[in-house]
Symmetry: C2
Subunit: 321 residues, 2 copies
């Protein structure tokens, strides 16, 4: 089985929206009038972004999910994606499961595989994803305004708790680990929420490298600060405190962890009802966790008001596994 057999067997789904899909030198897209094209690329490396023994279906799922999450953060509607894949060898079972995980999530979001590349090499998955958004409606990191509310979608910290447990063998219950591992391996990209927030949110970012680091990116881009209720943050973690898991660990998982793929966004106070409505129509839990300040830095209120945020580091692909 060679390069072109792999593409034919596993990565040549029919396309209906693209002018031209897999099989020529380029794919061709027609972007609807009065729309902009949103583009993002993410590369996943074995041993860095996922464990070597993870189910290939989860790898396929997650490789696309993290890209969909970037579109979600801009409020873009997915159109299509390319897949570049380096494989150490040709393993039918692996390829079948990987493509199932990938293409089932793609179908769910009506996001077509339109091209890419397959080669031999250490396992590496690079997806570029394309979405459409009406002119001037993209959610950027730079739009937060003083006194805006600050919100986050879904769950924070649970994926990081799974990662820490798998790396360091922390003693948490098997059922807890299983639930957290599901969030680590199969994050839900908040695509519908992003679209629903288009004309409501003032700024947004997806939380891939941890709340603190990504949150600071949004604040820096908007040139503002934030006051965040640490109790509200803690309420976003699915795993509650127990005799095995104290709040100190929970807040650390939330602040310095990564892999949440939730949306952090801001909206004017007068849009509270609209945010609630966006959460409802997109069936996405949303928590108001604080507000924007003029201070240029992030501060906490509530139980962890005195926590020194400078001592907490965010995920960096070059310094932490």
């Amino acid at each position: 089985m060679g390069e072109f057999d792999i593409i034919r067997e596993f990565f040549s789904p029919k396309t209906t929206r693209a002018i031209l899909g897999v099989g020529d030198d380029c794919a061709l897209l027609q972007i609807p009038p009065h729309s902009q094209l949103a583009i993002s690329s993410d590369m996943l490396v074995c041993g860095r972004h996922f464990f070597p023994d993870i189910d290939p279906e989860d790898i396929g799922y997650k490789a696309l999910a993290v890209n969909l999450s970037d579109l979600a953060a801009c409020g873009a509607r997915p159109i299509s994606f390319t897949l570049a894949l380096a494989l150490p060898n040709i393993n039918h079972t692996w390829l079948k499961r990987f493509s199932q995980g990938l293409l089932s999530l793609a179908d769910l979001h009506d996001c077509e595989l339109i091209g890419g590349d397959t080669t031999c090499g250490p396992l590496n998955i690079c997806i570029s994803i394309f979405g459409e958004i009406p002119n001037n409606q993209a959610l950027l990191r730079s739009g937060a305004r003083i006194d805006d509310d600050l919100y986050v979608s879904g769950n924070l910290g649970d994926a990081n708790l799974a990662l820490r447990t798998l790396l360091n063998g922390r003693p948490i219950k098997d059922a807890t680990l299983a639930a957290c591992r599901k969030l680590l391996n199969r994050p839900t990209p908040r695509v519908q929420l992003g679209i629903a927030l288009r004309t409501i949110a003032t700024a947004a970012i997806d939380l891939s490298d941890g709340f603190l680091g990504d949150g600071q990116h949004l604040l820096n881009a908007s040139n503002v600060g934030a006051m965040i209720d640490s109790n509200a943050l803690l309420s976003c973690m699915q795993t509650k405190s127990s005799e095995d898991l104290c709040d100190d660990t929970r807040i650390e998982c939330i602040l310095s962890g990564g892999d949440d793929y939730e949306l952090l966004f801001t909206a004017p106070v007068k849009q509270r009802a609209a945010v609630l409505h966006a959460a409802q129509i997109s069936q996405t839990p949303v928590t108001r966790i604080g507000h924007i300040t003029p201070t240029n830095c992030m501060a906490l209120s509530g139980d962890y008001a005195t926590l020194d945020l400078k001592k907490i580091t965010s995920f960096d692909h070059f310094f932490k596994t």
Copy 2:
């Protein structure tokens, strides 16, 4: 130095055409009206697509050149690209030279770096490239018609001769190797030729995996065959026959080699003057090497008319280095 420092220092050039470049969750593009978007992705793996000791400036150059070549094959004008980069470690000198090679070629084609990803892992470079083309003018592999002329741009086989020599130590002269190595490491993407051929050529493909394999892709897509003058093919190789290099090796380098990144294209006989004009305005050498037949396979005329093409294999990323 972390992930974001790398992006800031080496991969954040100013953009003028993109609505939004590097630094948010997505980049944003506005596609001109009445145009389609052409997209291609190529992944380059160390040890597979380039030697580990190659000058990083050449790696940066080639990573973009092979993608530009895909746009050229469709007749698309480059707009922008994303870069996903896995690096085993952070090496300032390497990054500086790599980004110089990459961005100088990008500037030459007015092709903006608008986003991407940087992570730690075995060296891997994945570029997705975006081009624009007026509606319905894209050159496809599937448009060749019986009796069309068959043309190829530039030089064939020299890059492969360099590769063979570097892998197997064939005794060719140092000056010859240096000239061939330049073609291997710094192929010229035929962007201007592709654009000039838009309304002239009936089909096109870029020759990345060898004349025979890629040529057959074009013939299969068009459901036709071709009669090719082996003497015309041989004339396309820059390295001429000598006491060190017989024609048997030269024709093999041309047919089964790869890394040429030349355009193979077809055009109606009545367009010969137009093809010549396209070659002139794009300052690209073009050779007429044969014509399209109804046979569904490739056949040779000239000195190598009796060569058994079935015995010659094309480049496959999983079976050959």
